[in-house]
Symmetry: C2
Subunit: 281 residues, 2 copies
């Protein structure tokens, strides 16, 4: 497994591979890898000759007062896991390599960036889109795989790639869950024992909504209210948002008449956890 | 000469050429080609195996009330000129091809976009940077050549390419002038007979500043005042801005002690004309 720490090395490697018609898949990560990330690697392998993972905790997607400093990191373990997965190449740049002094270019996907997760994190998607665009230009992938848990992120990156005419296929990968249903996330690491127990309520609320829809309840407002009631009954929860949206456009829907995404973000202790589920009547 | 009107055709052509290690140069234009553009083609040929010119009047770089509708167009003549120049390929997309319904991604180069030309045209550089980034992704060039007259644009695109890690070299080309010194521009077409005569005052004011500096006058404030006086004496002129800046960073300078760029924009009749000159003491 090659490990590149400079942009020049990674880009030269990739441009050289491209000249040999190698199909490259990128799996961008912020490290502290878990089963969710490893499933992205498997997905990437289905679509390419070589898989390149990147590890970079991207400061521009953290807002002021967010957990950039505290975000969990474990490079040694990450490299071990990626090697076991037979990843071809890891790009793991330092902060100054990605954002040298004088950096000033940002990319943004219109109002999609300001809704849902963007409402409580107004500069988050600008940072995500910018760093992903940089990674695309450095790694030169033919396909890139993103976790389905970050659904709004997936749609925003897909929109960016389409709008900017990038010759890159954006592929989502299914959400990986713990046995009790909690979506696997690096931020689960923040949960204290009791919070971890309560955290399953997020998944349970999604399942409840799905079942209610199957039983003929279609009003998003009612479904949302029931979810809120369920979650609020837990001591350490604070709901950020719950929305019923069109899975392609992320526009809000009033009634679940076509396949609909339920997007949810809930604070549990100091962890802000997100999840989503497609439901249909 | 190949002429492509769809993104898919142009991108397939370029990706295929790249696999054969062809070095591609892009010359982006808004058409209505003049000697300035043709000099960019010559410059491009020095740096690449194949030269691709694009013709697209980009609506997102025109502000409200600006001359998007009136901007001069002459596709037939443009294609003839490019063929005579032995350009390999012309990319000439329709509006809907570049900006289909639902387009919402924009790229911006920080506060550089809001100064000088950006002050009177606040969304101009956002539009320029976005369309150039799209053209880069479509045409996949190794080098791209930009006219030196649009100096702020050149610096902004160079910054964008660096910040986003594009493996593309950005090359400026010298300003081409009419015999009387007026910088060649498609917008000179707007000038009425008397305005055209007066328009040389822009170049003359730059020459005056250069000569004053050579004679030891270094205060930007004084030089600027003399230029303003000279230009204001002409009936149809209205100065947008005159600034003395560091040629790399575009930061304003108070004194001409190192090589300095003088940036100037002047309205003459309904034409807003820009020019610039490097001066040194």
């Amino acid at each position: 497994m090659r490990v590149f720490r400079t942009i020049k090395e990674q880009q030269n490697y990739s441009l050289n591979e491209k000249c040999q018609n190698t199909r490259i898949a990128l799996v961008p990560t912020m490290g502290f890898l878990h089963e969710g990330h490893l499933s992205l690697i498997d997905k990437a392998k289905e679509h390419a000759d070589k898989v390149i993972a990147s590890i970079f905790v991207n400061p521009t997607q953290f807002g002021e007062g967010e957990d950039y400093e505290d975000y969990p990191r474990d490079e040694k373990k990450d490299l071990k896991l990626l090697k076991e997965k037979n990843v071809d190449c890891v790009f793991i740049p330092e902060l100054n390599e990605m954002y040298p002094e004088g950096f000033k270019t940002f990319c943004e996907v219109g109002k999609l960036s300001k809704e849902y997760c963007g409402r409580s994190r107004p500069t988050h998607f600008r940072g995500v889109v910018t760093v992903v665009l940089k990674l695309f230009n450095i790694v030169q992938p033919d396909v890139a795989v993103f976790g389905g848990k970050d659904y709004q992120q997936y749609i925003i990156i897909k929109t960016m790639a389409k709008d900017l005419n990038l010759p890159i296929e954006i592929i989502p990968s299914p959400i990986i869950r713990e046995k009790d249903g909690l979506a696997v996330s690096s931020r689960n690491f923040y949960l204290k024992r009791e919070e971890r127990k309560e955290a399953t309520i997020i998944y349970e609320s999604l399942i409840m909504a799905r079942e209610m829809v199957e039983k003929g309840k279609k009003e998003a407002g009612l479904l949302k209210k029931k979810m809120i009631d369920l979650i609020k009954a837990k001591k350490h929860t604070r709901i950020d948002y719950i929305e019923f949206v069109n899975p392609q456009t992320l526009e809000k829907v009033e009634k679940v008449e076509r396949p609909t995404k339920v997007l949810i973000a809930v604070w549990i202790g100091k962890a802000r956890l997100i999840d989503n589920m497609e439901i249909r009547s």
